[in-house]
Amino acid sequence: MNCEQLQEILVAYLDIKATPAERRQVEAHLAECAACRGRAEEFQLLWGVLDELPAVPPSAAFSAAVRARVAQEPRRASFWNWVRPSPRLAFAGTALVVLSLWLSSSVPPARQQVATAQQGSEAEFRMIKDLPVLEDYDVLADFDALSDLSAPPQAGSELERPQM
């Protein structure tokens, strides 16, 4: 191991977090390199110096400010909130029911008109459909030649039987 390779392991070695193999390599290098040995020692002294930096606790108002901001956040609806409708929802539901009742009370005449119109148009359609038959009936009813014909044979007569 050289000085450059030591750089990546030195901090872990001083933290006592190096693997046994790494520790052996570092100790072998430190035993022969006075510069790295001095640096390792000064790193440990430096960490002691850095401990002198005091902590800065939060101000007295900090937690209250966090709580106030969190309180403004929308809450997830609980089961009972889900079951119990909100006043706004209740008002909307009531308004919907009232509107439905009002509409249902005013709908029948309109529906009847529509139904009557539908029935009328269906009768007219049937009459138009049967119009040729009606016309033929009028023609046949007034056709004089038909009256000269003999009466039609009775059902079951010989004439109607197919010849075998």
Binding site: E8, P54, P58, R67
Partner: protein, 210 residues
């Protein structure tokens, strides 16, 4: 048995706001400290710390314990701090030794060792703390974040690498460069510390010999 941070967060997700209160109490001080040293201003640090807690709370519905809670929370904090500095929204104040008059945890603003009580020692301690703070704050952003998380939050390498989104190998090199810079910048304090520690070591050796 104390619940883990992940369990507390899952309880928050289930609608238990008292678990969020526990997380707030546990992490308000480390978070404000970290952000203060990142952005160099107490008010900005507290604003950002509030934002971190708010984002944690907002994310509760989609929270899935895929990483350590602290990794997730400090990643939010680091990104907010870096964005805040880049946007220039933080107040670039000269580092002040004035601390908040009233502190939430009731701790003194400066924890001065009691070995040499007195105003003179307090002034020396403040001067040293000021020098250290300036040196840490002059580090490049990523190196500073790495040192704050390693030295002051005592996080493991994998967690810091997760927060800074780099490999563990890259993190160890980053830490080495940061500490090497600080070793040079704070050489006088390091030497003072060496001098302070040597008599004790010698006396201890003397005690062991006798």
């Amino acid at each position: 048995m104390a619940r883990s941070d992940v369990q507390l967060m899952l309880d928050v997700k289930a609608g238990d706001d008292s678990s969020f209160e526990l997380l707030l109490r546990k992490y308000r001080t480390p978070l404000v400290n970290f952000l203060y040293r990142m952005v160099r201003d107490t008010a900005t640090a507290e604003d950002l710390a509030q934002e971190v807690f708010l984002r944690v709370y907002r994310a509760r519905k989609d929270y899935a314990p895929s990483a350590k809670f602290t990794t997730w929370m400090f990643r939010i904090a680091t990104n907010l701090a870096l964005n805040s500095r880049r946007d220039g929204r933080y107040r670039q104040l000269e580092v002040s030794i004035d601390q908040p008059a009233e502190l939430e945890d009731g701790a003194p603003a400066f924890e001065v060792p009691d070995r040499q009580p007195g105003i003179e020692h307090q002034l020396i301690a403040r001067d040293r703390a000021d020098t250290i703070r300036r040196a840490v704050e002059s580090l490049p952003e990523k190196q500073r974040a790495a040192v704050l998380l390693h030295k002051y939050q005592e996080m493991d390498y994998d967690e810091i690498a997760g927060i800074l989104q780099c490999s563990e190998s890259a993190l160890k090199s980053l830490l080495f460069r940061a500490y090497e810079t600080l070793r040079v910048e704070l050489a006088s304090l390091v030497e003072t510390r060496r001098a302070e520690s040597q008599p004790k070591t010698q006396s201890r050796r003397g005690e062991m010999r006798s």
